[in-house]
């Protein structure tokens, strides 16, 4: 017992100061991708053919746009532009309220808005979520588990993962929605009493991710359920998810780009 207390005293507090600072990401961290319009002068759209994902959308007139929901955050996607116009910033904030908001010509996205007043009164200080993995790799789930550790400590904001959809106010979906998991996902959603939220976490849940095109998976949860919060990443950094959820609850706001 005394050994433990000694260790505890020695280690001090390790919980991050988030959302009041405390985000210290290394130089190589691949956060929100950006497209430099200056370098992308010719709009050649070569990147769309070269990128190993659907991160680049071309063909809307002359426009080239970045789709954060399809981004796998791999070094190769940034290298897809022969003019070096695509790069990753160290910005971890990129969760949005709609699927379309994840697509933008520069990678700057309107960050998620707070829920309406009435829903926020219900969930703002106590949100219970049920996690459903449906055709994922376990990367996103591992980061959801990380949210519960002493560093990110999701519970200090009144947000908790619960054991049953019956106890939940919403579900967090990860994975591209495999054929074998589709029924279970729908049943879990139905089991949550309304009003309820759906949060899509990770490239798979948003767009099918690296498994897009396989006959065994769909293209994410958006085709099946109404999604309230879209959190890109492969997997999203815990701060990205935390930022998204806190914006939804109106605890964090501002900083739009």
């Amino acid at each position: 017992m005394f050994d433990f207390l000694r260790a505890r005293l020695r280690h001090g507090t390790s919980t991050s100061r988030f959302p009041y600072g405390g985000v210290d990401l290394p130089e190589r961290f691949r956060g929100r991708p950006v497209l430099d319009a200056g370098r992308c002068g010719s709009r050649c759209a070569e990147c769309a053919g070269r990128a190993p994902s659907q991160v680049v959308r071309a063909g809307h007139g002359d426009d080239v746009a970045l789709d954060l929901g399809a981004c796998l955050f791999s070094p190769e996607e940034a290298l897809a532009c022969p003019h070096g116009a695509i790069a990753y910033s160290r910005d971890h904030r990129m969760a949005t309220s709609s699927r379309n908001a994840l697509v933008s010509p520069t990678g700057a996205v309107p960050l998620a808005a707070a829920l309406d007043e009435r829903t926020r009164r219900l969930f703002g200080r106590s949100l219970r979520l049920r996690s459903v993995a449906a055709g994922s790799c376990n990367g996103c789930e591992a980061e959801l588990v990380s949210l519960g550790n002493v560093v990110f400590d999701l519970a200090r904001f009144g947000v908790q993962f619960v054991a049953s959809p019956r106890h939940a106010d919403g579900i967090v979906v990860t994975g591209a929605v495999s054929t074998n998991m589709r029924t279970a996902l729908e049943k879990t959603y139905e089991a949550v009493p309304p009003p309820k939220l759906v949060i899509a976490v990770g490239a798979c849940a948003i767009s099918g991710g690296p498994f897009r095109g396989s006959p065994e998976v769909g293209n994410g949860v958006g085709d099946i359920l109404p999604v309230d919060l879209w959190i890109p990443g492969c997997p999203p950094h815990p701060f990205t998810t935390l930022d998204g959820i806190l914006r939804l609850l109106g605890i964090v706001e501002g900083g739009d780009r």
């Binding site: 691949r30 459903v132 449906a134 550790n149």
Partner: protein
């Protein structure tokens, strides 16, 4: 009979496809049976369509003592006499073949669906089979007081989907059936059809907690087929990343096991240090799980001297802080009482089923690819194999503890003496008509990627085996005779991958 013929196959080496012996199905089965009796292990067994109407079965056998691999093959039709009639190690593989390729192994001891999907590797002329994705033949135990408990696919915690069906008498588990396949994404097909850049991204997503392990094995097979030589520096960086992945997961698992027995102090500390190890991977690769690092021909990011010395300092501090917490945890009477004797896997079954990784090492089977089939940096710097003997939850915890210490020693040693040179070399075109086998020791155990190329050098077949493929059977065995309430702890002590199994 003679031992299997040495055709020159080794970990991360290739042989010409013609050099793989071709036998009748009876000889094929007898050879596998004989080799397994002599101590070889069936590392992989898969089907690949040959012509419009034939299915080639390819077996890869491993001699863990001799560090050798060999392969043999046969061609079968829509039915064949099951290899698993004599060799239990083949049983799971044959369930997989029946499902993926649509060929029926006659006389199979327990033919059931494995992942519940229509065949995606069947010969072109075979009629497509329809698959019942919902039906599953669960075992039943009769008797008035016997009851059934069904759990999943949506569980209580934040974990992947799987369905567990217990036959229980009171609290005692009589039998457990595990139905998987909910995470099936068709990974092998994607690896076979995508270009290499996209395929590596899929390989990194086979199991999201084993990004380095799977990407490394996939790239190892590709590099062997392309005759690409990695520099010593690239190999050292890969080995460091693999051990950081092991550290993160082992530390996290010990923390989760502590949490499952309500020893919160260790759960809190270890949860944080898991994050520390992931953050080291992020410093190196830009991603907490090491995505983007392992690429054909080497690594995409260098471990510069300043980064190496910083990483070294952080690991030294981790080693210093970890020791007293682990000591407290393992000396705590209530932790010992909950870990000891629970979920024991008998050693004989470990041998019979060919279990791998820390599950096997906890049964005193010193099986470790880094030691038995060394590759890359592990040829020059050895990591001692850690074993325990009881095969229970405590043994698996002790193996993790020892491996944490040894991985820390290994990484710190590597960081002190990183070889100079480039980090990446060009990886050219794949040689046509060859077979490559690449194994690596992921944190759960042996990962095997088998790749066969066709005439133009494209990938004809890519067979992935995650350690969880074999080891899920260990969980069923471990639960028999235990209490249902011990299941979460028991499950966590294996911490197997659903995604890695389901592919």
């Amino acid at each position: 009979m003679t031992p299997p013929r040495d055709i020159g196959l080794r970990n991360r080496r290739t042989v010409r496809w013609e050099a793989v012996p071709r036998a009748s199905i009876d000889t094929f089965a007898a050879e596998i049976d004989e080799a397994v009796r002599e101590g070889w292990r069936l590392a992989s067994l898969c089907g690949l369509p040959e012509g419009p109407d034939g299915l080639c079965l390819l077996a890869v056998l491993a001699d863990d003592q001799g560090g050798a691999l060999t392969a043999t093959s046969t061609v079968v039709g829509a039915e064949y006499p099951a290899v698993s009639r004599g060799c239990p190690q083949a049983a799971l593989f044959e369930r997989e073949i029946a499902e993926q390729c649509g060929s029926l192994p006659r006389g199979h001891p327990a033919l059931k669906p494995l992942r519940r999907h229509p065949p995606d590797h069947a010969p072109a002329s075979w009629r497509a089979k329809t698959v019942d994705r919902e039906g599953y033949p669960f075992s039943h135990v009769g008797g008035d007081d016997v009851h059934e408990v069904a759990v999943g696919p949506v569980h209580a915690g934040i974990i992947e989907p799987g369905h567990f069906r217990f036959q229980a008498y009171g609290e005692e588990v009589l039998a457990l059936d595990i139905m998987l396949g909910y995470q099936h994404r068709g990974v092998e097909r994607l690896l076979e059809t995508h270009d290499l850049v996209r395929a590596v991204l899929v390989a990194e997503s086979i199991a999201g907690d084993t990004v380095i392990g799977h990407a490394e094995a996939f790239c190892g097979a590709i590099e062997a087929l392309a005759r690409s030589h990695k520099t010593a520096r690239a190999q050292a960086v890969r080995a460091v990343a693999l051990e950081l992945e092991r550290l993160a997961n082992h530390i996290g698992d010990l923390g989760a096991m502590a949490g499952d027995v309500a020893y919160q102090p260790a759960a809190a500390f270890l949860g944080r240090w898991r994050g520390e190890c992931l953050n080291l991977l992020m410093t190196l690769s830009g991603n907490r799980y090491g995505r983007g690092l392992i690429r054909p021909g080497g690594v995409a990011f260098d471990l510069e001297p300043s980064m190496a010395s910083d990483m070294r300092d952080r690991l030294e501090r981790l080693r210093e802080e970890l020791a007293p917490i682990l000591r407290m945890m393992f000396e705590n009477a209530s932790v010992q009482a909950r870990f000891e004797g629970v979920g024991a896997v008998p050693r004989e079954l470990c041998d019979a089923l060919g279990l791998v990784g820390l599950t096997a090492r906890a049964c005193d089977v010193g099986r470790d690819v880094r030691h038995d089939h060394p590759y890359g940096a592990f040829r020059f710097a050895h990591v001692p194999v850690a074993t325990a003997w009881a095969g229970d939850v405590l043994a698996r915890a002790l193996v993790r503890r020892a491996e944490i210490q040894r991985s820390l020693d290994f990484v710190i040693e590597q960081l002190d003496a990183l070889p100079k040179r480039a980090i990446r070399t060009d990886c050219g075109a794949l040689r046509p008509n060859e077979l490559a086998v690449a194994m690596s020791e992921g944190w759960r155990g042996e990962i095997v990627h088998v790749i066969v190329t066709e005439a133009e050098g494209r990938i004809r077949r890519c067979k992935v085996k995650d350690p969880s493929f074999h080891n899920w059977a260990a969980l069923t065995l471990a639960m028999a005779g235990n209490q249902i309430s011990d299941f979460p702890l028991c499950n966590k002590s294996f911490n197997l991958s659903y995604a890695g199994h389901d592919l």
